[in-house]
């Protein structure tokens, strides 16, 4: 079912919402009756959803909403209208192609991510695994699925009596291994990650698979992860392609071209002529070729820019740009704008490099990251495409994805240095950083700054601020944590300090 998209002002839409059902006059003509409409106010995100029940020809009448004053052609009967969470343009498809550019009264389909409910875990198991779990249950044991799966794969060479014994041993083993209550798991996790830090390299750059690419690794990267920096020092994406073009070099290179963000300054020099109040763009042929930019691309990009007049230069390639207002300030502004003007590609992707894997499939590595926009490309496999920017993942894919990103990035950083750290510690760190729903840094801005104890906060950093603030609020320190109890000289409430064991003596 197709929907129509158009642009209107916020004020118009607000009025409309108040008065639905209503009639609404627009300047377009419709061949078929659309059922839905989406309205944008900024041409990028659609924030209003309308239900349309009928289309009539426009005649002047009262109590009708007008999109504009003249040139009206048809009247839509709006059943209901409401504000919705912003829907980006990329979520609409025209035919099989994703919509790239907005045009007024465009007919398109909204595509939504398919949601599939995962079939129940137990049912999805292989019969052998189920059998193993059944066997264990028969002997009175309950096996975790992962262990049962492993055992099922090794079942072949094991004799029956050994097998039964092994089942019993596994059960006993898991019992013995479970963690002790009141264990200070946080401190253990912090030590387990901090201690190998001293053994890590400081060298910031390293080659990860592709030697042209620099990626921050080692201790600086680990610090960056726990700091939850907004932007990592070397943002980078690993873009996987759809199965059908994965091995097609030509198609892959086309995607690379689509990804790579090229601005005018990348391929041309800009010369400011103050006397004539014009800017001359001199394309550099070599750089144009390297970046696969045609002069027509350049012209197209300039067309989109507002507030300038484009004049063809005396030599064939040169383009002269004149600001419409004649002022030095404007000239300077235009120059700055021109430098950053995107000719093609995705903002933030400075460079993209395609690499052929051993299995003949291509992967694209990028310098710079823009997950949201890259995911909207048709050619890429959005299920595998990845970025090392944790905050970006959390923003685009949600906090659970962010949690997994922290885990994966930290695990990879440690593994790359050849350090073995149990994944449970990394999980705890990732969970602690994300349990509140946003990614919080380890440090005074994040977790430590939000502790419930005044004394613990004062002992960490910015001592006086916390003490003064506490006085105003009349804050109560419940003395439940570690730092505050050490400060007042009491046993801490973890481990053996968490329980009180009192000898009552014989009651005589």
């Amino acid at each position: 079912m197709s929907a129509i998209l158009w642009k209107d002002t916020k004020k118009n839409m607000r009025d409309l919402i108040k008065h639905t059902p209503a009639y609404y006059a627009v300047e377009a003509e419709f061949s078929e009756v659309p059922k839905e409409g989406y309205v944008t106010t900024d041409q990028k995100y659609f924030t209003y959803y309308l239900k349309i029940s009928a289309v009539e020809e426009y005649k002047e009448q009262e109590s009708i909403f007008l999109k504009r004053k003249t040139g009206l052609k048809s009247v839509l009967k709006i059943e209901s209208a409401r504000e919705v969470d912003p829907i980006s343009l990329g979520e609409f498809k025209k035919g099989s192609k994703r919509v790239k550019e907005f045009e007024d009264f465009m007919t398109a389909d909204r595509v939504q991510a398919k949601m599939e409910e995962k079939s129940a875990y137990a049912e999805a198991l292989a019969p052998e695994v189920k059998q193993v779990m059944e066997d264990a249950r028969g002997l009175g044991y309950e096996l975790p699925v992962s262990v049962a799966t492993e055992l099922a794969s090794k079942r072949g060479g094991i004799k029956k009596n050994v097998y039964d014994k092994v089942l019993g041993e596994i059960d006993r083993d898991i019992q013995v291994k479970s963690i002790d209550p009141y264990e200070a798991v946080g401190i253990i996790a912090a030590q387990s990650i901090g201690e190998p830090g001293t053994q890590m390299t400081m060298r910031t750059f390293h080659f990860a698979g592709v030697r042209e690419m620099n990626v921050t690794l080692g201790l600086p990267r680990l610090i960056e992860i726990v700091d939850a920096r907004r932007i990592p020092s070397t943002p980078s994406m690993t873009v996987y392609l759809n199965k059908d073009i994965e091995e097609d070099e030509e198609a892959v290179l086309k995607v690379v071209k689509e990804l790579e963000n090229t601005t005018i300054i990348d391929v041309a020099d800009i010369i400011t002529d103050v006397a004539e109040m014009v800017l001359t763009i001199k394309p550099d042929q070599a750089r144009m070729r390297e970046r696969l930019v045609l002069p027509s691309d350049l012209a197209q990009a300039l067309e989109k820019m507002k507030g300038i007049t484009v004049i063809k230069g005396e030599t064939e390639d040169n383009v002269i740009v004149k600001p419409q207002q004649e002022s030095f300030k404007k000239l300077y502004q235009v120059q700055e704008q021109l430098k950053e003007l995107t000719i093609k590609g995705i903002t933030g992707i400075k460079r993209a490099i395609a690499r052929k894997q051993n299995d003949g499939k291509w992967i694209i590595y990028t310098q710079g990251s823009n997950l949201k926009d890259v995911l909207q490309l048709d050619e890429i496999d959005s299920t595998r495409t990845y970025t090392n920017d944790i905050i970006e993942i959390a923003n685009v894919l949600g906090i659970e994805a962010g949690r997994n990103a922290i885990f994966r990035e930290s695990a990879n950083t440690l593994a790359e240095q050849g350090l073995i750290v149990d994944q449970r510690h990394l999980m705890l760190v990732s969970d602690m950083m994300t349990f509140s729903g946003t990614v919080r840094a380890v440090g005074r801005q994040g977790i430590s700054g939000r502790k419930s104890s005044v004394l613990a906060r004062a002992a960490f950093e910015i001592t006086t601020k916390h003490l003064l603030r506490a006085g105003l609020l009349g804050e109560i320190d419940p003395l439940t944590g570690v730092a505050e109890n050490i400060i007042v000289g009491q046993p801490i409430t973890l481990g053996t300090g968490a329980i009180n064991l009192i000898y009552k003596g014989n009651s005589k």
């Binding site: 387990s192 726990v226 750290v421």
Partner: protein, 886 residues
């Protein structure tokens, strides 16, 4: 938190002090700016008034009558002539002035707004909610109120108040005096305070403008007497003197009706002194200085930072009953033991509370006096002090020992010197993980150093190049029990970081056992007995008879330290890389180490078997037989290793790196080839023919290419060299067994040192366009950029040597930077995670009960006990079960 500990602070509430409260808690109103009179006696109503506490022996506190160490000190107060603002609350005062009406004092919100906001604020309690959220909410409300220029309550036109940092407020350019500010703040009704994040129960806004200043007790600011007899006052006292002096002058000037200008100047000066009394690093005013020019350390400076009260004295404390000295190795100690020098043992004591059961034995200790020895001159524990139930300490000397032993009764405490078997804590800084502090049992040894088994070096990260370590004597029975059960070295064999052993054989242990088991050599009975004499084994190896003589296999000797019933199969480090057949083993079966029922059948013992981090045998013994058995194995294994290597002998020298003439010339060829290829690359580059790699500039591409050429050259020369250095070479044995060094280091010695680098690239800094003046400008050839063709053995030429030092320096700098950076990261991590704990249901919670994980680590398994992270080790369980069923 009830019960258990008889007294426990349940909670602490913070509040502001009101002037009334300050006067109430004050013992004396200080009016004299002087401290002591000419006789050195405290001046009455001065800053050192006897009511404020005593610091001099002999004097008694005028308030509580206590002597030094008994009197906790008491507060006094200063009545300021004019009010001044408190620097710490400047921002808050500004918000108050902005958001309330200057005439009626109400918050500038309409009644409707007040009602709707009040609902939101009432929903949470100020004293226990997240201060951050309260801050954000009140900021929103006060910002809105500040915008309004007409008071909705009384309709008075408002004037913008500007803060002239740090402490002056101006209204349309005219200064608003603290007195006026205070008057305005007084007008604000209690009910409006909540919108400013102020708890009306504990604070009033006008208290942020001071009229009375609290004078801290003398104990907080003791004066010190220098050797010259001169008295030197504390920084705080200096500051208080200034405040009183100015306050008095201000009062006089005001009362005599001095010109307004003079009064204002004095008032500003008073404000300056009070400001710097609180915080001497306030932005915008010069710090108050001591006569010597040193900036004074006032209240904020005392609390703040690493050397501040919080981090230095409250979060960390100095302790008694501790010792520190240099450490040295002692292979004949168990891993659970620590050797303590007699001298230290005589000073360190364990308190024994006398009861009816130990009365006799304790009296015996006392009778022995402070330095007893047995008939052979061996150390016996004595007693330094006995403590009577009233707390008096009596020094025990050789003379009064006999007499004192009779006086000891039930209820007394006797401080007995350290004796063998006492449990102590042993620690090496930096304490990066919990294995940095472990419990040991004491062995009293002659000498001056602490000694311990070499296997324990790894968890402490200690070596013996002058390292010092700390020893703490545990003073309470509960603590001793915890130390013994939780902290003992054998309990810490498994690292919580990766679920494997962190204690294991090192260096010579690995070399030795490698030599003992590789190719399973035969030993004569005498040799076997010599080796075994180090071990004290439970089993003896089985002999094989050859030519009528009894011989013993190396693996059988090793088996003597393995516990019965141990079944194990794994690949040794030696054969880890080889897939089908192991090039180093003559018998294909030796590719895997096989141990059945505590008897080693195949393979070679090396790092993988007994080393720290990897030690599979230690790992499995710990899991199957427990910590005590694992400790026993490590003790015996290290002793066996020491026994064997001292019997066999092991050494390496420069001759071990000799390689034949043709190999040397082959290496020369390789390095020449590399030079030629580098030059060719440079030539191509200079001609502009070098194709840049995608995404790289031509220069970068050239560097990458050259680096790969030099890297290849070093690898190749290493290969050539090591082809002549087989497993008979001691260095190769050490490298292959994992004892020390890598093959790379050997090829550096025998083959070629290779390319030196800084920041992952070739050396390029120094003189203009070159690294040293010996090269031509813009020479980017191999040698000029740090390609070292020589080997360590042949020696580096002067230029190579210099360039090599450049590369070496980077490593040193790197280490220095790294320790500080990772130290800070760890501090932040610990601080953020210290409060987390697992509860009975294995879920992870923080202090206020927020669930962080529903099941710890998703499976509830302790990483310490996990199989290197895995829940169970199925292969081992199956192998073990198979062996046991047979």
């Amino acid at each position: 938190m009830t019960g258990g500990i008889s007294k426990r602070i349940n909670r602490i509430q913070f509040a502001l002090l009101s002037p009334e409260e300050i006067r109430k808690m004050s013992q004396v109103k200080v009016i004299t700016a002087d401290t002591y009179d000419d006789d050195g006696y405290p001046i009455e109503r001065g800053l050192m008034d006897l009511h404020l506490g005593v610091i001099e022996p002999g004097l008694k506190c005028a308030t509580c009558g206590g002597k030094v160490d008994e009197c906790p000190g008491h507060f006094g107060h200063i009545e300021l002539a004019m009010p001044v603002v408190h620097v710490g609350f400047i921002k808050e005062i500004k918000t108050f002035l902005d958001a309330t009406c200057k005439s009626c004092g109400r918050i500038k919100l309409t009644d409707d707004e007040i009602a709707s906001y009040r609902k939101k604020f009432d929903a949470m309690s100020l004293s226990s909610s997240d201060p951050e959220i309260i801050g954000l909410m009140s900021k929103k409300v006060t910002d809105e109120a500040s915008q309004r220029m007409v008071c909705p309550h009384c309709g008075v036109q408002q004037v913008k108040v500007i803060l002239d940092k740090p402490t002056t407020f101006r209204e349309e350019g005219i200064k608003v005096t603290p007195k006026e500010i205070r008057e305005r703040l007084e007008r604000i009704p209690d009910d409006d305070l909540i919108f400013f994040g102020l708890n009306k129960e504990v604070a009033r806004p006008e208290w942020m403008v001071l009229t009375v200043l609290l004078v801290p007790p003398i104990n907080v600011r003791p004066s010190i007497t220098l050797e010259t007899g001169e008295r030197s006052e504390d920084d705080l006292t200096h500051k208080l003197v200034d405040i009183i002096r100015i306050s008095q002058r201000l009062r006089e000037s005001r009362d005599n009706g001095s010109p307004q200008l003079i009064i204002e100047d004095l008032w500003d000066l008073l404000q300056f002194h009070v400001t710097t009394y609180f915080d001497n690093q306030t932005a915008g005013i010069p710090p108050a200085r001591h006569r010597s020019g040193r900036a004074l350390k006032t209240l904020v400076q005392r609390l703040k930072g690493k050397e501040g009260r919080f981090r230095s004295n409250l979060s960390g404390k100095r302790v008694n009953f501790s010792a520190r000295t240099v450490i040295s190795p002692e292979p004949f100690l168990s891993i659970n033991e620590v050797g303590v020098p007699e001298k230290a043992a005589r000073e360190l004591t364990v308190p024994l509370t006398v009861n009816i059961f130990n009365l006799e034995s304790v009296r015996n200790f006392v009778k022995n006096g402070p330095a007893p020895r047995d008939e052979f001159g061996k150390y016996l524990p004595g007693v330094n002090y006995i403590i009577r139930p009233d707390g008096r300490r009596i020094r025990v000397s050789a003379q009064n020992a006999e007499e004192n032993s009779k006086r000891v009764e039930v209820g007394w405490v006797v401080e007995r010197q350290l004796m063998e078997g006492d449990i102590v804590l042993f620690n090496r800084q930096p304490s990066l993980h919990r294995m940095s502090m472990m419990a040991h049992t004491v062995r009293i040894l002659p000498g001056q150093t602490f000694r311990f088994n070499l296997a324990v070096c790894t968890p402490y990260n200690a070596d013996f190049d002058g390292d010092e370590m700390n020893l703490h004597i545990v003073q309470k029975e509960e603590a001793r029990a915890e130390a013994r059960i939780i902290m003992k070295v054998q309990e810490q064999i498994m690292s919580p970081r990766f679920g494997g052993p962190i204690i294991g054989g090192i260096h010579d242990h690995i070399t030795s056992l490698f030599l003992l088991t590789h190719e399973n050599p035969l030993f004569t009975e005498e040799q076997m007995i010599h080796i075994m004499s180090y071990v004290n084994p439970e089993k003896t190896p089985v002999a094989v008879v050859k030519n009528g003589k009894r011989y013993y296999h190396g693996r059988d000797i090793f088996s003597a330290v393995l516990p019965d019933g141990l079944n194990l199969k794994f690949t040794s480090k030696l054969c880890a890389s080889s897939k089908a057949k192991c090039e180093y083993e003559s018998d294909p079966a030796d590719k895997e180490v096989v141990i059945v029922n505590g008897k080693m059948i195949h393979g070679t013992i090396d790092e993988t078997a007994i080393g720290p981090f990897s030690g599979i045998i230690i790992d499995k013994i710990f899991r199957k037989y427990g910590p005590a058995e694992a400790a026993k194995f490590i003790d015996r294994m290290t002793r066996l290793a020491v026994g064997f290597i001292s019997q066999r002998g092991f050494s390496t020298g420069i001759k071990d790196y000799d390689i034949p003439e043709n190999a040397v010339s082959r290496i020369k060829e390789i390095s020449d080839e590399a030079t030629v290829r580098i030059n060719k690359l440079i030539e191509t580059y200079r001609e502009g023919m070098l194709q840049p790699a995608p995404g790289r500039s031509v220069e970068e591409t050239l560097e990458i290419e050259i680096l790969s050429v030099t890297g290849g050259a070093r690898d190749e020369s290493g290969k050539v060299a090591s082809a002549y250095l087989g497993l008979t070479n001691p260095s190769v044995i050490m490298a292959r067994s994992g004892a020390r060094a890598k093959m790379l280091n050997i090829s550096e010695v025998a083959g070629m040192v290779g390319q030196q680098s800084v920041r992952g690239g070739r050396l390029n800094r120094g003189y203009y366009g070159r690294t040293l003046p010996h090269f031509k400008v813009d020479d980017i050839g191999g040698k000029a950029r740090g390609f070292v063709k020589s080997s360590y053995k042949s020696g580096l030429d002067p230029l190579e040597y210099f360039l090599h030092s450049i590369g070496g320096r980077e490593g040193l700098v790197d280490t220095a930077v790294r320790t500080s950076r990772s130290g800070y990261m760890q501090r932040r991590l610990i601080n953020a995670f210290e409060d987390l704990k697992v509860d009975e249901t294995r879920s992870v919670q923080d202090t206020i009960g927020t669930v962080i994980q529903f099941k710890y680590g998703e499976d509830g398994v302790d990483p310490t006990r996990s199989e290197r992270g895995e829940t169970v080790d199925l292969d081992y369980l199956i192998f073990d079960a198979e062996q046991e069923v047979q």
